[in-house]
């Protein structure tokens, strides 16, 4: 289906030490007609059923409205895209389910309900359920006959999820677990028929997961939480009082719950990245239209450079984030296929592949959710006073965007995870980071290679920039590890800086590779704006890496070492200047001309 040459061409996290060929990445322009039709159906659904009711949804007078929208989405098949056909779904590949997440991502509270149901609600059963559990529950969830919620968080256990206190105790006859405890922030709680519940058995160190039907009894809940945004998403505190769960409804094994929670969130993260992209595109489109309509000083505000800059920045960031998200999505698909060819079951192959790319999933969650926040914030700004009006769309967009940096692991947790996973894989010898890091350490002591231009091949110079950015990340991470050894985890500020550089490198490389591949298909003239976007993004990434790098280096190095590392950083964050103002104007003008988000 997809014209990507080598399958499984790269390991998770390996982008930091390995170059990738443009031919090896998937680009969204390669989505097939069928995949695009699927995405269009999702957008049509939002247009027909969700957007006309945004106010009513947010008033949240009763959970029935959201539940009925989920029924309609189910009838259209939107709840079963990732579920295999044998369980009533459509067995689409991972990148298609990402595309569905994106295309339904502009539905505000509805999108949250949908993704909680199809993601954290359904996937634990899909990946960890035995045949009996899968056949009992999956088709009901795929059709929307049943709605699902995921109960991990508790009042005293959020980011530190494994510290949950909810208990599960085996009854004397050994037939049931009795669950007692309190869960918090449970999306879809008010109308869910099925809850994935994490609890501890006796004094276990790790959680165990259970599938709990509403009708098992002993489940009560508070009124919906009053929230800053996604007001129409039904979020509850859920109480389990002697809730009797048949032993067969334990998911996987005792003590495996934390692993399930982590892996399912991991998948949720990259899908959340896709969903936020959908939201961001919607905001960007609204901003372009408003900028064309609104006149001040005798002209449309779209004619002002300050506004063009905002519109262009929205497009650049969205396009870049999209490039990286689907690149990772395809890496995951390829690895799934490889694993399956080697005889793994569908579920095991998916889990293993997603685990392999957990670093990319965490990075994309951070990046895309922050892009959405940026876009929503500037969307408000483009709308001026109307941006602050509850009668215009930016108010909701701005408030609803914010949650994405919090759930599915806060962005701090995901940044920490990014570096933690990279270093752990390095320690285990799965990723050779230390070798290249040492080489970089030597390189900064030697005379710099001033040959920046490379050949005259497309993006030759830019590829050197990317290579250098990777070196910057390796230099800082390597020095940090040497300096702090096992105590590096206490230096979170440095870890955040390293994560930021890694994220920027990954995204900048992805957008460059995308445009390179696209130029190969359509020719350079047809891709001038895409090239502008890739280059603008790269320039910004270099600045960010430089800033994060300096903050990190100055926080631990002194004297000669400080000077050498800062010199190294300067060398690794060097880029030929370009007129990004004019590039941004071209990008903005294309959208202004078409009066929509055109990328």
């Amino acid at each position: 289906m997809i014209a990507t040459q080598n399958r499984a061409s790269i390991k998770g996290g390996e982008f930091l030490i390995k170059e990738t060929e443009a031919s090896q990445v998937f680009i969204p322009e390669e989505f097939t007609e069928e995949q695009q039709m699927i995405a269009q159906s999702c957008r049509d659904f939002l247009m027909a059923e969700v957007w006309p009711r945004l106010d009513e949804i947010d008033q949240a007078k009763s959970p029935a409205l959201m539940s009925s929208l989920m029924d309609k989405a189910g009838a259209l098949g939107l709840l079963g895209t990732a579920v295999p056909e044998e369980y009533g779904g459509f067995g689409m590949n991972f990148n298609t389910s990402m595309l569905v997440a994106e295309a339904t991502g502009a539905g505000n509270s509805f999108s949250v309900a949908l993704s909680a149901h199809t993601g954290i609600g359904t996937l634990p059963i899909l990946y960890y359920g035995n045949d009996d559990l899968k056949s009992r529950y999956l088709s009901k969830l795929a059709s929307g006959e049943w709605k699902a919620a995921y109960c991990l968080t508790e009042p005293d256990s959020g980011s530190d999820a494994n510290s949950a206190k909810t208990k599960a105790a085996l009854t004397e006859d050994g037939k049931h677990y009795v669950i007692n405890g309190q869960k918090m922030w449970i999306t879809n709680g008010g109308f869910a028929d099925l809850f994935i519940v994490f609890a501890k058995i006796e004094n276990d160190k790790n959680l165990t997961a259970f599938i709990v039907e509403k009708t098992f009894g002993g489940i009560t809940m508070n009124e919906p939480e009053k929230k800053m945004g996604i007001k129409g998403s039904d979020t509850r505190q859920v109480f389990f009082n002697d809730c009797q769960v048949p032993v067969e409804n334990m998911l996987s094994e005792r003590g495996n719950g934390f692993k399930i929670a982590v892996n399912v969130l991991n998948i949720g993260r990259i899908k959340l990245a896709a969903a936020t992209l959908g939201g961001a595109k919607q905001v960007a489109e609204q901003a372009v239209k408003y900028a064309n309509e609104r006149k001040q000083f005798g002209t449309a505000i779209a004619n002002f450079g300050a506004i063009k800059h905002k519109l262009a920045e929205m497009a650049i960031k969205i396009y870049a984030s999209e490039s990286a998200s689907y690149r990772a999505g395809q890496n995951i698909d390829d690895l799934i296929e490889d694993h399956k060819e080697q005889g793994m079951t569908d579920a095991a192959a998916k889990l293993k592949a997603l685990e392999q790319f957990a670093i990319e999933c965490a990075m994309m969650k951070v990046h895309a959710s922050e892009v959405l926040d940026y876009v929503a914030d500037e969307g408000v700004q483009v709308y001026g006073g109307m941006g602050f009006s509850a009668d215009a769309p930016m108010d909701r967009a701005y408030r609803d965007a914010r949650i994405n940096r919090l759930f599915e692991g806060t962005n701090e947790i995901n940044r920490l995870l990014t570096v933690d996973m990279l270093l752990k894989r390095a320690m285990k010898g799965e990723l050779d980071i230390m070798g290249p890091a040492l080489a970089v350490g030597k390189e900064i002591m030697s005379i710099p290679d001033f040959n920046m231009d490379g050949s005259d091949e497309l993006f030759a110079a830019e590829k050197i920039v990317i290579k250098n950015l990777k070196k910057a990340a390796l230099m800082i991470a390597g020095a940090g590890v040497q300096k702090f050894m096992m105590k590096l985890s206490e230096e979170q500020e440095i870890l955040m800086n390293v994560a930021d550089i890694a994220i920027e490198v990954y995204v900048a490389e992805s957008v460059l590779l995308r445009v390179e591949k696209l130029i190969g298909v359509r020719g350079e003239a047809a891709c001038a704006l895409q090239k502008d976007m890739a280059l603008c993004y790269l320039h910004e990434a270099v600045d960010k890496a430089n800033s994060a790098g300096r903050t990190a280096i100055t926080s631990f190095a002194e004297g000669d070492e400080l000077r050498v590392m800062l010199m190294g950083l300067k060398r690794f964050t060097k880029i030929e200047p370009m007129n990004t103002k004019n590039a941004r104007r071209r990008i903005a003008d294309a959208m202004i001309e078409e009066n929509k988000f055109v990328f």
């Binding site: 007609e33 069928e34 039709m37 699927i38 159906s41 049509d44 659904f45 027909a48 009838a75 259209l76 098949g77 939107l78 079963g80 895209t81 459509f90 078409e594 009066n595 929509k596």
Partner: protein
């Protein structure tokens, strides 16, 4: 019941229209195409009628290969098979002749299409097809039920509605609210690729007219605001600029 639904492949309603080749051709670059919105409703009603009465739906497009995307969408929405008459749909008479030719071969009970396409909007193809097949045709039909061999339908007329009955076969030009607009569902999309799409060559039709060129309407001028009590200026402008007095 055998239903034939004719669909057009037309530029999206928001597309920017520009001409090339000395204003004789639409510039298709960057233009998004859709199933004609009225045709979409005709198809939606056909799907509902099939659900109620059984039978089959064939979708027909007179057009070039780039329209197959729309045909596959129609298959995803619920048509069983498709025919594409491989040619440029040059004018209404030509298109009607192609449809009539295919319709004769398939002997359909109902031939549905939109009241008009949204590119050329001539709104005569249903009438022409009816004449060519020597069966009745009606448009614009906004309500349609089938009872045995009889169609019961409502048609919009000047200032009101007309309720009619006629026996099949019939040609009907449709418009909303004849059916609920349909979004292709996942199952439909995934089965569309397994449904037959037959490409046939057009029959020869004598050319009724040749195209010279297209022009775009003049751009909308800026609005001039005149204070409500300043009648004199208004009259002056109506005389000097609008030249209507």
């Amino acid at each position: 019941m055998k239903i034939l639904v004719c669909i057009t492949n037309v530029p999206d309603t928001t597309a920017k229209i520009a001409f090339i080749d000395n204003d004789t051709k639409l510039n298709k670059a960057g233009v998004q195409y859709i199933i004609g919105p009225y045709d979409d409703y005709a198809l939606a009603r056909a799907v509902e009628l099939k659900e109620q009465h059984g039978g089959s739906i064939t979708v027909l497009n007179v057009g070039e290969a780039d329209g197959e995307q729309q045909i596959r969408k129609a298959l995803a929405i619920g048509a069983d098979d498709a025919i594409r008459v491989n040619c440029e749909p040059s004018d209404s008479y030509f298109v009607a002749a192609q449809i009539a030719h295919c319709a004769k071969e398939g002997s359909y009970d109902l031939i549905l299409m939109g009241r008009e396409s949204i590119d050329f909007n001539s709104g005569v193809v249903h009438g022409l097809v009816g004449e060519m097949l020597n069966i009745p045709s009606f448009s614009p039909v906004m309500k349609l039920d089938i009872d045995g061999n009889t169609a019961k339908f409502a048609r919009e007329i000047e200032g009101g509605k007309e309720y009619l009955e006629a026996s099949l076969p019939l040609v009907l030009g449709c418009q909303e609210p004849i059916a609920e607009w349909k979004i292709p569902n996942m199952r439909g999309i995934m089965t569309a690729r397994t449904k037959p799409l037959n490409v046939v060559e057009p029959v020869a039709v004598p050319e009724a007219a040749t195209l010279e060129k297209y022009t775009l309407p003049a751009p909308k001028g800026a609005v001039k605001m005149i204070a409500a009590d300043d009648v004199e200026s208004l009259i002056a402008l109506l005389k000097s600029e609008a030249k209507v007095l």
